[in-house]
Symmetry: C2
Subunit: 283 residues, 2 copies
């Protein structure tokens, strides 16, 4: 496994893999790798001959009051994980490599798809993600890229970017990796106190409860969702959103229609930690 | 030479060239090929083993009152030119191929670099160019791409996009091809009446006159430029701009400084035809 910091070097290393006729799968991460990331890497291995992981905490996708400074960084542990998971190349650029000039004249704007869910609560979040992933795709030029379902709005937005920008990469979605009690794995779970950690799985339980009701025929879930939000609040959560969204436009849906696919998604704070989770529903 | 209309097919054809270890030069055009384009194609041949030309009149770079409908289209003649110039692949997508969905959620915004020159007169022009060239670069993935100095603001903006988006393509600028009387070659010259055609070279003569004065030491060219605009007006032009711009920020410069490189550029209408021209000045 090679750890590479510069764009020229990662390009050369990817070219070398290509010259052996290897297909390339790419797993972009912000490090603090956990079992969820490992599942992405293993999925990547199934889809291509070589796996490239990037580890970069992208400042452009953090708001001014978000946790950029405190976001967990533990490069050596991450490299050990990658080594163990037989990653071929680990790309670890710093800010000077990824954003080489002080002035940036170009920005990528997103209509509609970032108006709800995490996009509503985190202005500029998806623009920041799209900015860095567009760069990373151009640097790595992978055949496939693996992202987790946990960040489903990110997945849908990036899929759309790939289509509109004609990137020749196939996006693969990996299922959400969960702790035994159902909590979706996240690098931010490290922020949870012991007590918060015991409460945290209630978000997923709420989603599962709503899913069951919907699959049992509730096609107007507003009251159901409102009740579950109250329950979460009573348990100590501060709700951000809990709603059903269309899969294509990522907009709230009040009346579900048979034969459609939806995203049931929730976000809530426990103390200072923001948790997100979702379930895809075939109605 | 192969003419190819679909993205999958052009990708396969480029891959086939790559598998022969050929480097790829790309010349994006809107067709109506003239000697200027031929000079781009010949430059492309000098820089790479294989040459891909695209012919596509990009609707996104025309304003609502511009000449999209009347823009000259003569595919068969263009293909003959490409054949004669030993182009390997000609990519001729239609709108359904380049903009496959009716809704577009993504746009690329440009700060500052499009505020002056053609960007000021043609709102959305460079955003439209950047949109289509970003797509074309992702489709063709060339090693180099050749653009003409005539559209120097386009060249500078695309160079900056390549840097900020990390496209792995090197942009090469080809000098302006001119008629014997100095008129910069342009597909739009076809719109000129016989009388207008005889007047048209005065734009370049004005630029040359200003260039000479500047090289002779005029470091505040405002009056000089104003006088030349009057002269052009008297000859029947309607001036759009005639000014000196910084090469990096593409902003007007009133006081030239030694050791710097500038763009002396002009745009003017003759009847309904918009002419542009420029000279790079090393001061």
């Amino acid at each position: 496994m090679k750890q590479i910091e510069s764009i020229d070097d990662i390009r050369a290393a990817v070219r070398a893999l290509r010259s052996e006729n290897k297909t390339i799968a790419f797993v972009p991460t912000m490090g603090a790798l956990h079992q969820g990331h490992i599942s992405l890497i293993r999925k990547a291995h199934k889809h291509a001959d070589a796996v490239v992981v990037s580890i970069y905490v992208n400042p452009e996708q953090f708001g001014p009051n978000e946790d950029f400074d405190s976001y967990p960084r533990r490069l050596q542990a991450d490299l050990n994980v990658c080594e163990k998971e037989k990653v071929d190349l680990v790309f670890t650029p710093d800010d000077a490599v990824m954003y080489s000039s002080s002035v940036n004249y170009f920005s990528i704007e997103i209509e509609e798809l970032g108006d709800h869910m995490d996009g509503a609560s985190r202005p500029g979040f998806f623009e920041g993600i799209v900015l860095v992933v567009n760069k990373l795709f151009n640097i790595i030029k992978p055949d496939i890229a693996v992202f987790g379902q946990k960040d489903i709005q990110q997945f849908q937005i990036l899929s759309r970017m790939v289509k509109e920008f004609n990137h020749s990469v196939e996006l693969v979605m990996a299922p959400i990796a969960r702790a035994n009690d159902g909590l979706a794995l996240s690098s931010r779970n490290a922020y949870l106190s012991e007590e918060e950690r015991t409460i945290a799985p209630a978000l997923y339980r709420a989603l599962r409860y709503v899913e069951k009701q919907i699959l049992d025929g509730v096609d107007k879930p507003e009251l159901l969702l409102s009740h579950q939000k109250d329950e979460l609040e009573a348990k100590g959560f501060q709700n951000d959103y809990l709603n059903v969204y269309s899969l294509d436009r990522l907009a709230p849906v009040s009346q579900l229609k048979e034969g459609n696919r939806y995203i049931l998604a929730g976000a809530a704070y426990l103390g200072k930690t923001r948790l997100i989770d979702n379930i895809i529903i075939d109605f």
